[in-house]
Symmetry: C2
Subunit: 156 residues, 2 copies
């Protein structure tokens, strides 16, 4: 079983980086619409979406943001951290087949409050920024290793 | 078929409000883990989660944020708007069975840039704030009515 390991607070350093890459599928659009309730046709109906300024279906901005959350929770600082806040600026659309990479970098550590500020930038396959912003995290103080949960198959 | 209607930019006023209510299900946790890739057991494994400070499985913070995005895209200002940015502070956990309400309120309108700032607060069934923050939107300038997309059944 795949393990998730964290970096405890006292081992984190300004400049620490990690990343996560994912390609948007049609299934992602459908699942995100289901779980968020946002059934706006710009995300789901190719015929409708082709009439918009985007010319095709685009991801919900919060799908891309959810990848930031995933990278923080599974990679840097990893499990056991408390997600305190996130600033997001959505700068470009993400389309089916686009490959986006979340780039995390620790930019500030508050030793007193035991919190870290993480730069959270998401770029596409053309190295253009699609989301930028930063996260506030309270990393776990102890070392944590957990089993990644195995999800059931999802059939549409 | 259910229709989604927007409020065009020139009809929006500071103080306009809308809301959206949803109850967290176990399926939401699984779907959000799938679509975000965040399979941290604190969201999925009741046995593991019972050993954490939360005592039970909790929603991914970005699930709650996705409801804000849904409320903006389907209610205020509704379809056709461009989501420019979102600030989020995660203040309390959301557990299975919790009923959360997204409260939107227009707090600023920039006539020159044709943008609106929306206060985005999410409360639980005990009227405690679980997420607070604000959104930046560029609402559509014209009136838009679209058919809400009908999603396929999802089987776990």
């Amino acid at each position: 079983m795949k393990k998730l390991k964290n970096i405890p607070f006292d081992q984190l350093q300004v400049g620490d980086c990690d990343s996560l890459t994912r390609t948007l599928s049609e299934q992602d659009l459908i699942l995100f619409a289901k779980v968020s309730g946002d059934t706006n046709p710009v995300h789901l109906d190719e015929n409708f979406a082709s009439s918009t300024m985007f010319k095709t279906r685009i991801a919900h901005g919060m799908w891309t943001a959810s990848l930031i959350s995933c990278a923080l929770a599974t990679k840097l600082p990893g499990p056991g951290g408390i997600y305190l806040g996130q600033e997001l600026k959505f700068t470009r659309p993400v389309k089916i087949g686009d490959t986006v990479t979340v780039q995390l970098k620790i930019i500030e550590i508050d030793q007193e409050k035991k919190r870290a500020t993480v730069s959270t930038e998401v770029i596409n396959q053309n190295k253009k920024i699609v989301v930028k912003g930063k996260a506030e995290i309270m990393p776990a103080t102890e070392s944590i290793t957990v089993d990644e949960y195995t999800l059931p198959e999802i059939n549409l």
